[in-house]
Amino acid sequence: MTELICIVCPKGCHLRVDEENGFAVTGNGCPRGAAYGHKELTNPTRVLTSTVRVEGGTLRRASVKTNGELPKGRLFDAMRELDGVVLKAPVAIGDVVVENLLGLGVDLVATKNVPAR
């Protein structure tokens, strides 16, 4: 039995996951908590948010996120990948910044509109 705090939403339910019973989850307030409890003990994943450089824009950086979750163990690899990225303004929310990041099947997308200067 492992006790977890759910991170799916700000409520922060106190979950109990039973590894010996097919990762059955109790203490969850919604079905997403049950899914999280199972996944957190088998294949933990996170959405990554960061920023990348922008040239010729009203701002120097554009914020970005992965449009799906990455394996927790690959977050730092993904951060290194972002280091060299430079966008040209204008940038619009939803623009794909890096397609299929690290071959993990999720894209890095812009989360900020940066108009050209």
């Binding site: 799916v8 939403c9 922060g12 948010t49 920023t51 120097r60 929310i93 989360t111 509109n113």
Partner: protein, 424 residues
């Protein structure tokens, strides 16, 4: 001199101001203006690049800039005017807003109603009087967040964070991902004021230790921070000699609380609640000055922007109605703080102005389990709400139905929190 007349003027273009202005326009206010001192709308959301915003309001998980954009995009269609780079200097009793901007110069803007949405500011090192040297490298967490996420500067390499508020926790993760080593998150209280999910995904995920009941007792360094000394504190929050831990670091981030920014409100004569440091408000977010409303972090510091949005829509709606119909009258009930309750918003309820129910927001003074929230009047409990878990870091909300208003005695209700076994 620039002069103009508006139905509703909104002071501040962060999440509260955006929601209030859009809702005022939707409620029929013809001329609505947002005055924003920054060069872009969105307020603090612009630097909150992490996700988790909007789960209540949009039913999806957005980053801060995306959440802001959802509202900004609607302004043009709604006919809301925006003035950026505009600083409000004074609001006079006849609801004239004195403002200036580089572009327009000095402006006298008259409004039928005003919504105050100036947000809050961070407490600084000066406010909590940390002893030690005064080197560079001591930042408030929000300032560091602005430098990193908006300006693109790394603020340090080896970091100690004082305070476990959400901004501090979010910055612990952010700095770690950008290559810094976060050595410790130090919290004076025996519990964290941040959301549980942030302890998990910002500290635990990166093996950053959280020192509860500890504080910084010394900052050392000549030009730049070189060392920080942390000590355990007793129940009275005094450092215990002999428990000192020394960290070699170059940066200290402070996440030690937020204070509603009410200089303009005070200047205008708005009555302020000493408990929230924000305006005393009625059920519709109207302040002590008729036609002047307030919402968001300028009233009380929120945990979730979704609740700022909902509260500000209430303020915007009420401001539009005031501009059209004037002041709602009728009897007024005072909301008093009972056991374990630190403050409530609203503090006053005009019963005739409530539709079906009134939502009362509050915070408790400590961490509790298995409690019952009671709303009582004249010694009688009118409504009870069960809670498994309560903490000062989590704002509570109860809905008090209008059907129970006839039971209110002496124009007062009390919100209190009691142990389940002590509840009647």
């Amino acid at each position: 001199m620039n002069e103009a007349q508006y139905d509703v003027i909104v002071v501040g273009g962060g999440p509260a101001g955006l929601a209030a202005a859009l809702e005022a326009a939707k409620e029929g206010a013809g001329k609505v203006l947002i005055l924003e001192r920054n060069d872009e709308l969105g307020g603090i959301l612009n630097q909150c690049i992490h996700n988790g915003f909007g789960l209540h309001y949009f039913k999806e998980e957005l980053t801060g800039p995306e959440y802001a954009a959802r509202f900004i995009e609607k302004l043009a269609d709604a006919g809301v005017e925006v003035l950026l780079g505009a600083m409000v200097l004074d609001i006079s009793a006849d609801k004239t807003v004195h403002a200036m901007s580089r572009e327009k110069g000095y402006m006298l803007l008259r409004a039928k109603s005003i919504v105050l949405t100036m947000g809050c500011r961070e407490r600084t090192r000066g406010a909590i009087a940390i002893p030690g040297d005064r080197p560079a490298g001591v930042f408030t967490a929000g300032a560091a967040q602005l430098y990193m996420n908006v300006e693109g500067y790394m603020v340090g390499k080896r970091v100690v964070i004082l305070g476990s508020g959400d901004i501090g926790l979010i910055m612990a993760r952010r700095m770690t991902l950008e290559g810094a080593k976060v050595l410790a998150c130090v919290e004076l209280m025996p519990y964290s004021n941040g959301l549980n999910r942030n302890i998990v995904q910002c500290l635990n995920d990166y093996d950053i230790p959280l020192y509860l009941s500890h504080t910084i007792v010394d900052i050392r360094g000549d030009k730049r921070v070189e060392q920080v000394v942390v000590a355990k504190v007793d129940e009275k929050r005094n450092p215990i000699p002999g428990t000192e831990i020394t960290f070699d670091c170059d940066t200290v981030l402070l996440s030690v609380g937020l204070i509603p920014e009410n200089e303009l409100s005070r200047q205008a004569g708005v009555a302020i609640d000493r408990r929230t440091n924000g305006p005393i408000v009625y059920e519709n977010m109207e302040t002590s000055i008729p036609g002047v409303f307030a919402s968001g972090n300028v009233v009380h510091v929120h945990d979730l922007v979704d609740f700022v949005t909902a509260e500000s829509q209430r303020a915007g709606r009420a401001a539009a109605r005031y501009a059209r119909d004037g002041e709602p009258g009728g009897p007024c009930v005072l909301v008093e703080n009972g056991n374990a309750v630190n403050y409530t918003v609203p503090q006053k309820i005009r019963t005739d102005n409530v539709d079906k129910l009134v939502e009362i927001f509050f915070r408790v003074n400590f961490v509790y389990t298995n409690m019952v929230i009671q709303i009582s009047s004249g010694g009688e409990v009118l409504a009870s709400f069960k809670r498994d878990h309560m903490a000062p870091g989590e704002m509570e909300k109860v809905a008090f139905p209008k059907a129970l208003f006839p039971k209110i005695r002496d124009g007062k209700i009390t919100v209190s929190v009691v142990k389940e076994e002590d509840a009647q």
